[in-house]
């Protein structure tokens, strides 16, 4: 019996104007995988991640999440998305953590977390608050539940971002350079929260420049450059014995 992959992307193309950012990306992520997507700036890794939950639309290719088709391309090469309500439903299977946090500044930490469960899933206040408190305890920020995002440090903001995404009970988590906007001394606390999530067998796709995280936590590393996947393999394969010159050059530069 074949398992349905959590993420199935086939031949995904995306261009911004004349610039082709994704030149046919194919990737499958299985349940429980922690995939680190690495590569130089401008390699298209963030764009690819954003295509998966419809923050960008693809021009060609096929994307399915847990077997449900988000976008597909017909024989004539025309890309079709499923209808809006289904796009939203499929997207909401994925939690997203942003480079710039994108917390809601007018809401407290607690309100940030319970907003979507309340308005989208119609979960009652009494039911969601204990769950939100549990999530905040997990990321070590229960004492900040009444604070506004502007009163938090970058690392705290990102941990709220993770808790907010988890409150929707996603089946997998997408991380778009979650530590890139942080001061170096604040990345540790965010990576710890992510590591803990990985230990709980959450399926994760992480765009990152944190090579240590990629090496120590991920079950698979995917190296992208110039809109293509150059190579992928286990962390030890990629870090100890990279096959391609471009991968070697990149790793030498990063480590």
């Amino acid at each position: 019996m074949t398992k349905t992959p959590m993420i199935q992307a086939r031949d995904v193309h995306k261009r911004f104007g004349t610039l082709e950012v994704l030149k046919g990306i194919s990737l499958e992520v299985e349940k429980g995988d922690v995939v680190a997507l690495i590569g130089p700036s401008g390699s298209g890794k963030s764009t690819f991640l954003r295509c998966l939950n419809h923050l960008e639309t693809i021009d060609r290719g096929h994307i399915a999440i847990e077997g449900e088709t988000l976008a597909t391309t017909d024989a004539a090469g025309i890309c079709h998305y499923t209808q809006n309500a289904d796009v939203r439903r499929i997207s909401s299977k994925m939690g997203m953590v942003f480079q710039h946090f994108n917390l809601f500044p007018h809401l407290t930490v607690m309100e940030n977390i319970i907003e979507a469960p309340r308005t989208v899933k119609r979960i009652s206040y009494d039911e969601i608050v204990p769950k939100a408190e549990e999530l905040l305890r997990k990321v070590g920020l229960l004492n900040k539940k009444g604070s506004y995002p502007s009163q938090l440090s970058g690392g705290q903001k990102q941990r709220v971002g993770i808790a907010r995404a988890l409150a929707m009970e996603p089946d997998l988590m997408l991380f778009d350079e979650p530590t890139s906007a942080l001061d170096p001394e604040l990345t540790g606390e965010v990576l710890r929260a992510m590591r803990q999530l990985a230990e709980e067998r959450m399926t994760m796709l992480v765009v990152t420049h944190e090579m240590n995280f990629a090496r120590d936590v991920s079950t698979r590393v995917v190296f992208m450059d110039q809109g293509e996947i150059v190579e992928s393999g286990s962390a030890s394969e990629i870090f100890s014995a990279p096959q391609h010159a471009r991968t070697r050059a990149f790793l030498e530069h990063m480590l």
């Binding site: 939950n53 923050l55 809006n84 939203r88 942003f98 007018h106 989208v120 899933k121 907010r164 929707m168």
Partner: protein, 217 residues
Amino acid sequence: MNYILEIIGPLLDGTIVTLQVFVITLLISLPLGLALALIRVSGLRFASTLVSGYIWLMRGTPLMLQMLFVYFALPFVPVIGVRLPDFPAAIVAFALNYAAYFAEIFRSGIQSVDRGQYEAAHALGMNYTQTMRRIILPQVVKRIIPPVSNETITLVKDTSLIYVLAMNDLLRAARGIVQRDFTTMPFTVAAAFYLLMTLVLTWGFHRLEKHYAVYEG
């Protein structure tokens, strides 16, 4: 002093007319302006162009002319022609005019909200209406308080234009007494009334700003 007490009655009557025009105009033009702004940012090309044309028309001609048009010319316009009494005519002109200004204020507020807010809402599964109502518009309110306060204070004074429809607002009441009694004292009292009204508004908007100051951004 006795004289002031003597004229204060008719001036207060005028103030009530002024306040009626002010309050009703706000109650109509704020929601209407918000609706127009939402159409403009909706991405519906045709509707958006139509709204742009409307805003151009309303900001591009004098409010007094618009009021005269509604009162004197509208009855003769085919199809939509309707004869309005002076008070409703004034309200229609004021509400339509101020809605155009408010629409631009709302639009600038909506467009000043970071794209990341929409993306976060989308990633959390919120639809457009939920995103606007729960995430974007609450942030817009904070940002537009200063320009809305400006417009609102202007409106208090613009209400004096209704004198052209022979309505007895505060300023026309004052002018009537000036012409009758050959003294400019009523003007001074009227000025004090206007200042009092704008003082209350300034204080109110200040309170509102403080209320929203609990969060940054």
